[in-house]
């Protein structure tokens, strides 16, 4: 097990290095020049060239890459071209809203999806099954921004139950923090509910057809323990895998949800940076996202051993 974890952590370094090269090359080869954007609409070509020199953007690409990767290895993700603020500081400032949103989404989506999926499988073909699958299909089909606008219109503008936008740090006011997260978490969680509910239903259907379930029923095991202890636990591996994959969906969804609800998280940070070609921020955020994704996959893989003792590394 320890050797496996060590191998996976070593592979993390390789993945990060590859991501670093790809991100750097894609950004610098794509059209767009931060110097031209900084200089503004009235700048002359000479002024743009001056800014480019100051930013070191006129140096050879390999030289720029070496300088950047050397700094990254020493923990320095660089400084934002526009705001002059260290990227690590900017990411640190934006981490809490994004983490809060992600955790709130998971806290809402995973239990709801599991209940829907288990119920749908237990009563396959019934109205419960059809209703839960309607929720799932809607969750998949409705884009986050459409769901977001509808939620805002109904629950914020019309009913005034929740604020339209913004974020309150948890240290400032816990109740406000929660109030600001309800609508974004519901919006972002809908697709996640759909994904997990569908895979839960499909896996549970397979498991419920197994001999040991029939045996459990014959022994008179109550429905609840039979579904949760005997069936759901054995269906756990694919569900956990999908939850892990879903984190990638979450990362993508965070960008849109944070924009719609004006949450100052990492998603907003990277979108703003892309529009301005703020290379250090884009590179830094993608590296962080990649690391998070790799670590989540590792955690998911390790969790298999707890769900299914037959799995050994």
């Amino acid at each position: 097990m320890i050797a496996y974890v060590a191998r996976r952590l070593a592979s993390l370094i390789v993945v990060m290095a590859l991501v670093g090269v790809c991100v750097f090359l894609l950004l610098h080869l794509a059209p767009g020049d931060p110097a031209a954007i900084i200089a503004g609409d009235n700048a002359t070509p000479a002024q743009i060239a001056g800014i480019r020199t100051k930013l070191g953007l006129d140096e050879a690409l390999p030289l720029q890459f070496l300088r950047w990767s050397g700094a990254v290895l020493s923990g320095d993700l660089g400084v934002s071209i526009f705001s002059n603020t260290p990227v690590t500081t900017l990411i640190g400032q934006r981490l809490e809203p994004t983490l809060s949103l992600a955790l709130a989404t998971l806290a809402f989506a995973v239990p709801v999806a599991l209940v829907l999926g288990v119920l749908a499988a237990w009563r396959a073909g019934s109205s419960i099954d059809r209703a839960s699958m309607i929720v799932a299909v809607t969750g998949f089909s409705a884009p986050a921004f459409v769901v977001g606008y509808l939620m805002i219109y109904v629950f914020a503008v019309t009913l005034k139950w929740f604020p339209v936008q913004g974020y309150t740090p948890i240290a400032e006011n816990v109740a406000d923090w929660a109030r600001h997260l309800v609508l974004p978490a519901l919006t972002l969680g809908l697709a996640y509910v759909a994904l997990i509910a569908r895979i839960t239903r499909a896996t549970m259907l397979e498991v419920l057809a197994e001999d040991y379930i029939r045996t459990a029923k014959a022994k008179g095991v109550a429905t609840g323990p039979m579904l949760l202890k005997h069936a759901l636990k054995n269906a756990g591996v694919p569900i956990i895998t999908v939850i892990g994959i879903g984190v990638a969906l979450l990362i993508g969804g965070v960008v849109i949800t944070e924009t719609v609800y004006n949450i100052p998280g990492i998603g907003r940070l990277v979108v703003d940076a892309i529009s301005k070609r703020d290379y250090p921020i884009i590179q830094g955020v993608i590296l962080v996202f990649s690391a998070v994704y790799v670590v989540i996959n590792l955690v998911v893989d390790l969790s298999y051993t707890f769900i299914d003792p037959r799995i050994r590394y």
């Binding site: 767009g32 609409d41 603020t85 805002i152 914020a156 004006n262 907003r268 979108v271 301005k276």
Partner: protein, 533 residues
């Protein structure tokens, strides 16, 4: 130790108190809601240095925390602001300025003439008007703590216009130590002498920006007018919220979560006008001009006939209608100096009465020797107005058998590619569309796009000696003579066609009905004089 229910409750209360402690501390410093205004401005404030960048939002930030030597009033006339008295020598070559009493930076130090001189020097490196002025400056220096003088090699009557202009970069007065920063690099401390203080402690970059009233500011006695007059901060705090999504900002305004929204989409204005709690107003009456730049370096637009063809091809009303819909908020504009500006005139605008005239445009392209080569139009798909204008222009060109090709990218891609002087087939371009404040077009010196000095000038690189001579003549003219020279410039300009206008739109701002006193002017949104009733 066993956890009892009582211990759990005690622990929870203690934890909640600890978590709320920072908020309790802050609450004592936070002004009442009635004295706090929350605004959604045109974009995120990415740079705090209004000289380093020409971004309008950074200039707004500058207007909050810095003061200016002069400011344009509501009639576009320069008026003294930090300056108490000023005068020129008999030979008109030396200008002397004396600062008024009571000026102080937010750190408590007094504003001195040396601060002003350093600020002028840094600004002049980055600003078109400053560069134009400094070509003639022989000497600039402080005479004493409150007086400085500038000596020119020839009379320069435009000096007050340059000092007072509201177009970016504005001449904001910084501390000497900040103003001595390399103009190509950003300042790192944001200490001004203006009516608001930048609260860096409570600002969260990318999320919101906090400005507190400067209780020590000494406003001028005159009533506020444009950037001139008494800058009285009636609000204790102004917060700029960075809301990127239009729908969200509108919902937040309707819900009372924000008080002011600078750029609501014009197609949603009807919705806002129908809300009795919201007031909609055009603050910049000279509007925003959408204009089309042609690349003079390559065919077909290296030929004057092809450029003239675009004058006859473009239907400004159609562009504006497609982009904005509601005719209340747009108009066509024929004057080279924009519409509603002091230099507006109708010299040599017969083409405007004829346009659109596609047969004539087709004939002019033929006379230009157009050979069917692709005409590359840079199309920023993330900029709705320019995207619409580009698509219409491409369609009209195709209708007269010009092989128009749209090169799609985001705006960042356009601003990069437009600097490329290679031929269009090698990454260059033929046409791009952009916009600028209508007021900026009224001054042939300050708007860099008014230059026609070839490869030293702005993208498109137009070249015309007569135009440059006339611009110089305008710069030397006394204020009362400038309109006559402007007519000469326009007569010549619409013959050689440095660029083509695609319409003028008036952007309304939306605010809660209890927000009063917002000063309407081009280029800037000042928050002094504003109050919540």
């Amino acid at each position: 130790m066993a956890t009892t229910r009582r211990r759990f409750v005690q622990g929870s209360v203690a934890a909640a108190t600890l978590m709320a402690a920072p908020a309790i501390g802050r609450a004592s410093e936070t002004p009442a809601a009635a004295k706090t205004l929350k605004a959604v401005m045109q974009g995120d404030l990415r740079s705090f240095d209004p000289i380093w960048t020409t971004a309008n939002i950074s200039s707004y930030h500058g207007a909050m925390i810095y003061d200016t030597l002069f400011g344009v009033d509501g009639n576009d006339k320069p008026q003294p602001q930090m300056v108490d008295s000023f005068g020129t020598s008999d030979d008109q070559l030396t200008w002397t300025f004396k600062l008024r009493d009571g000026l102080g930076f937010h750190d408590g130090t007094p504003v001195t003439a040396a601060d002003c001189v350093a600020s002028i020097r840094r600004w002049a490196v980055r600003d078109g008007a400053g560069q134009h002025m400094f070509l003639r400056v022989k000497d600039i220096g402080a005479k004493d703590d409150k007086t400085f003088a500038i000596t020119f090699s020839e009379p320069y009557p435009l000096i007050l216009d340059a000092f007072a202009k509201a177009g970016t970069p504005v001449l904001y007065i910084m501390r000497k130590k900040d103003a001595e920063t390399d103009p190509m690099q950003q300042i790192t401390e944001y200490v001004g002498s203006g009516p608001f203080i930048f609260n860096t402690r409570e600002t969260k970059q990318g999320a919101f920006y906090v400005y507190d009233r400067n209780a020590n500011y000494k406003p001028r006695p005159e009533p506020a007018s444009g950037m001139a007059g008494g800058k009285i901060a009636k609000l204790d705090r102004v917060i700029w919220e960075n809301v990127a999504d239009d729908q969200t900002a509108i919902a937040a305004l309707q819900n009372g979560e924000i008080d002011f929204y600078e750029l609501p989409p014009i197609d949603l204005i009807d919705q806002l006008e129908a809300d009795k709690n919201i007031h909609v107003e055009v603050l910049n009456k000279s509007g925003q001009i959408v204009w089309c730049r042609m690349n003079w370096l390559y065919p077909p637009f290296n030929n004057v006939k092809a450029r003239q063809a675009l004058l006859y091809l473009v239907n400004q009303n159609d562009v504006m209608k497609a982009a904005f819909g509601n005719p209340k908020y747009y108009r066509a504009c024929a004057s080279y100096f924009g519409c509603g500006t002091p230099m507006e005139n109708d010299e040599n605008t017969e083409w405007f009465k004829e346009a659109p005239n596609k047969p004539k445009a087709a004939q002019l392209f033929k006379e230009a020797g157009y050979d069917g080569r692709p005409v590359v139009i840079l199309q920023p798909t993330n900029f709705a107005v320019f995207n619409t204008a580009d698509q219409l222009l491409a369609q009209w060109l195709r209708e007269i058998n010009v092989n128009a090709e749209l090169a799609a990218s985001d705006w960042g891609g356009v601003v990069t590619r437009r600097a490329n002087r290679e031929p269009p087939e090698k990454g260059g371009w033929n046409i791009f569309v952009t916009s600028a404040s209508g007021a900026a077009f009224g001054n042939p010196i300050t708007l860099v796009g008014h230059q026609a000095n070839g490869d030293k000038g702005w993208f498109g690189w137009p070249s015309d000696e007569t135009h440059e001579r006339l611009r110089d003549k305008w710069a030397k003219a006394q204020p009362q003579d400038r309109l006559a020279v402007a007519k000469e410039i326009q007569r010549n300009a619409w013959n050689f066609v440095p660029h083509v206008y695609m319409g003028l739109y008036l952007q309304p701002a939306a605010m809660r009905a209890n927000v009063k006193g917002v000063i309407g002017m081009p280029e800037l949104i000042p928050f002094w004089n504003v109050e919540k009733t």
